[in-house]
C-alpha cells in the first residue's frame, strides 16, 4: 500500500474514532457520576475502562453539563488542595435513563447491520 493511501486511511480512521468518542462521552460521564467524583479521578476511571479522554475535553464538558443542570458540583478542600467534585443531578438521572435507552437501541441496530 503506498504511503499516501496509508496516511489518508489513518487520518480517516482517526477522524472517525474521534467522532465516535465524542458521541459517547456524555453518556460515559453521566454513567460514572452516580457518586461524586473529581475531574482527574474520573479521567483515570474512564481511561482504565478503555475510554481515553484529555483534560481539555473532559473538564470543559463537566462544566457545560453542570451549566445545563445535568450535574451538580461542590468544592472540597482535601489537605491544602481544593478539588471540585461533580455528581449527577436529578434531572441528569432522568436524561441518563433516556440516553441509555437510545444507546441500547443504536447498539442493537448496529449489531443487526454488521451481521
Amino acid at each position: 500500500m503506498n504511503k499516501e493511501l496509508e496516511s489518508s486511511i489513518t487520518s480517516w480512521r482517526e477522524k472517525f474514532a474521534q467522532e465516535l468518542r465524542r458521541g459517547v462521552l456524555v453518556l460515559a460521564v453521566l454513567s460514572q457520576l452516580g457518586e461524586a467524583q473529581y475531574g482527574y479521578d474520573l479521567m483515570r476511571i474512564l481511561g482504565e475502562q478503555g475510554l481515553q479522554v484529555e483534560q481539555g475535553t473532559l473538564y470543559p464538558l463537566l462544566r457545560r453539563l453542570e451549566e445545563e443542570g445535568l450535574l451538580e458540583s461542590e468544592w472540597r478542600i482535601e489537605g491544602a488542595r481544593p478539588r471540585r467534585y461533580y455528581r449527577i443531578s436529578k434531572r441528569g438521572k432522568e436524561v441518563l435513563e433516556l440516553l441509555l435507552a437510545d444507546w441500547r437501541a443504536l447498539a442493537l441496530a448496529m449489531e443487526k447491520l454488521i451481521k
Binding site: Y38, Y40, Q55, Y59, P60, A80, R83
Partner: protein
Amino acid sequence: MELIERYLYQVGRYLPLKQREDILTELRSYILDALDVSEGVEADEAQVVALLKQMGPPQKAAASYHSGMNYLIGPELFPLFRLVVSIVLIVVLGALILAMAVGAIFDSGSLSLSTPQGILETLAGLWNALISAFGMTVFVFAVLQYFGVHMQEEEKWDPRQLPPITQEGEQVSRAGTAVEIAVNVLLLVLLGIFVDKGGVLAHMNGVAITDEVIQTYAPLIGLVLVVSLLFYAYVSRQARWSPPMRFIKVLVSLLSIATLYALIQGHVAWLNAHGGSSFLTTLESLELLPQNAIAITQNVTMQGFRLGFTIALVVEGIETVVEVVRLVQYKLTPSGGVPYTQVEG
C-alpha cells in the same frame, strides 16, 4: 510553582472574566493531581514542562472552554451568505463601472481617468466600495448568527411546489441574469436622475450641456428597460431556457434594437443640424475658437452618445441573431430539443 502560575495567568487572559477564577482553580487542581506531588514537595521542572506541553498553548487550552459562540457565520447561514455576497459584489461592481463610464463621458471638468493618478484613485475607490459592501454583508450575517436567526425553509417546503423539469434547454445562468437585472436597474436609475435634472448632463461656464434626444425618448427608454427588467426577473426564477422564453427574449431584444435605432437617428439628425455628425465636419463648421467651446463640447457629447448607442446596437444585434439561430436549431432537430443533461455555456 511559578511555571504553573505563569501558564495559568496566560490561560486566564483568554477566559471570560466571570468564570476565570473558577476555571483556573480547577485547572490548577488538575495540574497538581496530574503531577501527583504530595504536600510541600516541588515537582520536577521537566515533569511540569511535559504536562503543560500536553495541555497545549494557553490560548488553545482556553478555547476549549468556549464552545458556545464559535462561528462568525455558521454552517446553516453560510450558503445563503455566499449567495448574497456574490450578488452584492456583482451589483456594486456593475454600478461602479457604470458610474466610471458615465463620469468619463459627462465630466467636462476633471477628466479623472486621463492621468495615472486619476486611474489609481478610481481603482482605489472601486476597491473601497467592494470591501465596504463585503464587510457590510459579513456584518449583517454575523448579527443574524449571533441572534440565532436561521433559514426556516426546511419546515414549510412542499415538493409539489418545485418547478417541473423541462426536458431540453440550457441552464439559466444565475450570474448572467443577476447582471442583466442589475444593469437594467442602474440604467433606470440613471435615466431617472437624468430626467429629474431636466436633461442636463453637466454645466460648462454656466451653460448646460444637454442631450435633447435622450430626453425626448426618455419614456420609451424607460419602458424598454422596465420590460427587460420584468423579463429577466421572470428568467431568474426559471431553471432552464425554454423555447418560449427564448422567443420572448428575442422580442425584448428587438424592442431594444428599435429604441436604440431611433436614438441613433435622433442624434444624427441633431448633429446634422448643429454642426456636423463627425468630428471633422464639426471642426469645419465650428472653428476651434474659445467662444465655440461650449458648442463644440455639446456636439462632441452628442457624438459620443451616438457612438455608444451604435455599439450597443451592434452588440444587441449580434446577441439577437444568436438567439434566433438557437431557436431555429431547436425547431429543426428531430427529437425536439437537446437532452437536459447537456449544459451549454
